[in-house]
Symmetry: C2
Subunit: 101 residues, 2 copies
DNA sequence: ACGCAAGTTTCACTTTAGTGAAACAATGTT
DNA sequence: AACATTGTTTCACTAAAGTGAAACTTGCGT
């Protein structure tokens, strides 16, 4: 059977693991207004909240776990239409975006 | 000298002009949950609010008016990073996006 | 320590955004 | 009508996203 979703990483832990501690050049560069950085984290968090594995999510959306991994880690910049598909088909939610002037 | 920005089109007028009246297949298809549809309109509106021509905006962002036209009309799906550049450099604003579960 | 499940990375290929120039169309001004 | 401004479209090319398969890595559980 499936193992329970015990240890859900905090946002900070996730960032630290993947991008280093706050204050390091790598991390700072990524966080400097780079919206894409946030996308991967949002997706990662949403997936954990729903208790899905990358593979399960991929199946719902109609893609592969390797692609999910890449966008969660911001290795590839997913399109808006792709993000929408993931959020809708994968989580039953929706994407929202707006321009703040 | 530059002509005053007299006739700012309403959102509905803009949509009607570019995609047809509400109820037509073309318009309905585009509006059916297609976030990209909204992007072009948001960008168009923001540009008019700032009183910029496509060419002026393009110069600020470092691209051409032909590209601006394409994304306002959703002919090309701009990347998130590109949208950010436009909103920041062109309008001095920022893009916001979130996942609603 | 082994084996399984979950996630990451690499390789290779297709599609599409990003881009500019230039032609074209539409709209407004005198 | 002629002209100027603004916006759209086409053509063509380059870089990067989108994608899958499969190999590889990293825990976790017994």
């Amino acid at each position: 059977m499936k193992t329970k979703n015990k240890n859900v990483m905090t946002l900070e832990e996730f960032k630290e693991k993947n991008y280093g501690k706050r204050g390091t050049k790598k991390r700072d560069e990524l966080e400097a207004g780079y919206e894409n950085f946030k996308i991967g984290v949002l997706l990662h968090q949403a997936r954990l909240e729903k208790g899905l594995t990358q593979e399960e999510l991929a199946a719902k959306v109609g893609t592969t776990k390797s692609y999910i991994s890449k966008i969660e880690n911001n290795i590839k910049e997913a399109r808006i239409s792709t993000l929408q598909k993931i959020v809708e088909l994968g989580f039953g939610g929706h994407l929202e975006l707006s321009i703040k002037l």
